[in-house]
Amino acid sequence: MADQIQWVELSVFIFFFALVTVMGFFAARWKAGPVSEHLDEWGLGGRQFGTWITWFLVGGDFYTAYTVIAVPALVYAVGAYGFFALPYTIIVYPFVFAIMPVLWKQAHANGHVTAADVVQGNYQSRALELAVAITGMVATMPYIALQLIGMGVVIKAMGLTGELPIVAAFIVLALYTYSSGLRAPALIAFVKDIMIYIVVLVAVVVVPAKLGGYGAVFAAANDAFTAKGGATGLLLKPAQMLPYATLALGSALAAFMYPHTLTGIFASKSADTIRKNAILLPAYTLLLGLIALLGYMAHAAHIKVDTPNDVVPALFQALFPSWFAGFAFSAIAIGALVPAAVMSIGAANLFTRNVWKSYVNPDISHAGEAAVAKIASLVVKVGALSFILFLPTQYALDLQLLGGLWILQTFPALVFGLFTRWFRAEGLLLGWAVGIGWGSWTAWSNGLKPLATLDLGGASYVFYVGLGALILNIAVAAVATVIVEMISPNRAGATARS
């Protein structure tokens, strides 16, 4: 990777960055509402986003910049196993179609802004509400840090060193998120997604043409894995199949428990908007599958890098003129801004509604909520920034992995309550605690690998620890519900307003 500054790339990059900055500040006036007077306006863009805006927004914040860097990097390093992102982002949509419209209806009817609001509405339990809110905030922080890492990779590729460029980019992001709220990333998502589509479609046509077709790309990758050995290859090893499937399923169930994806759901205009998006959003998954193949193209192009994360920038610099590489890098960096903004808004909404309003100032006005959330979004961003400035990068990656397993433990509290009131808040809280405790401990004792091993009747099964923790979570919640039901059959408050 070049160490001098790549002026052409950098100029293109700065042009697009300036463009989205102007758009970010201008967004406050887009589909204008009183942004500072109500949290629905700042934090949910006025709950008015139709099918296309939601498509761009959710596509923009679910398929993050880090994905564009990390998925090809993993595929480059290990092969087929890295493709679990593909089944994951397919099966998530039948789930979204079945569950999320129900969640939207409940949130819409009761003015809920966050997952924890919905949980509190269904169970009237401040403790469960706080558990869901804190899990959401804690899981989001390293996710934002990851976006910064993704942005850092392309900035480094352009020859800029030091942390100043990232800090500057982040201050700009923080300011327009502060002033425009969710409207800013929603508007920028249009630019980001169109740029990413152009980059990837050009890459998947031009790169194989330069390298001798897809047959040659797969053959080159196969040679590289044969030479490398170990648990790599174009196909899964038998021992990788169960981890592959459970990672896909667990990730799919966790994906729409995160504050940033749920913010996209709550901001939709109608339940039908969400259903149509479940049909249309897989277009991004096709894109993701093609992005993943960049990892194999790098083998065919004989790209050698120090860390796999540099594979995508190195590939673009090797095969494209510098203006197009600059365009691709802008797409990736802007692709980091959209999710980072939505994540900080989602976390800020949780803090405002479920910590500040619940514990500090229950009589807060609508304008007061918006003011608290705006400040909270700044704090969240500074937290994520200090994460990558002061801690080793690996910490952010490890915590993001744990974050996925934590957020998955909010699934029973959030989803089951939409369909049945059978579970008791006490049981769900205990299940959540046991799931997080066992999952974290297992991941930790495996050297922060997301896999757990279970020995049953002589055979040993390796699976995604988050999914195991979820099953344990549900079992504990069910047993505890039965016990609590025997001790106190009277459901205090459970029939109150929801």
């Binding site: 099966i91 039948p94 179609f97 079945a98 196909l235 499937a245 399923l249």
Partner: protein, 59 residues
């Protein structure tokens, strides 16, 4: 019709069913084009369920 929503789960989570190189298509080993093919298939299945359900504005 809602049962159609479970089909992608079966098709994609039962990995031994598609962990093969052959038959390949346009240079893509089976493992890859099979999973990519599930993207439009899943969209289609969800659309079929969407079409069949009664519109919800009457709760």
């Amino acid at each position: 019709m809602w049962i159609l929503l479970l089909v992608p789960f079966v098709g994609l989570l039962w990995v031994p069913f598609y962990n093969f190189a052959e038959p390949s298509l346009f240079g893509f080993p089976f493992f890859y084009w099979y999973q990519l093919a599930w993207v439009p298939i899943s969209s289609l299945l969800i659309w079929l369920v969407y079409r069949s359900r009664t519109p919800d504005e009457t709760p």
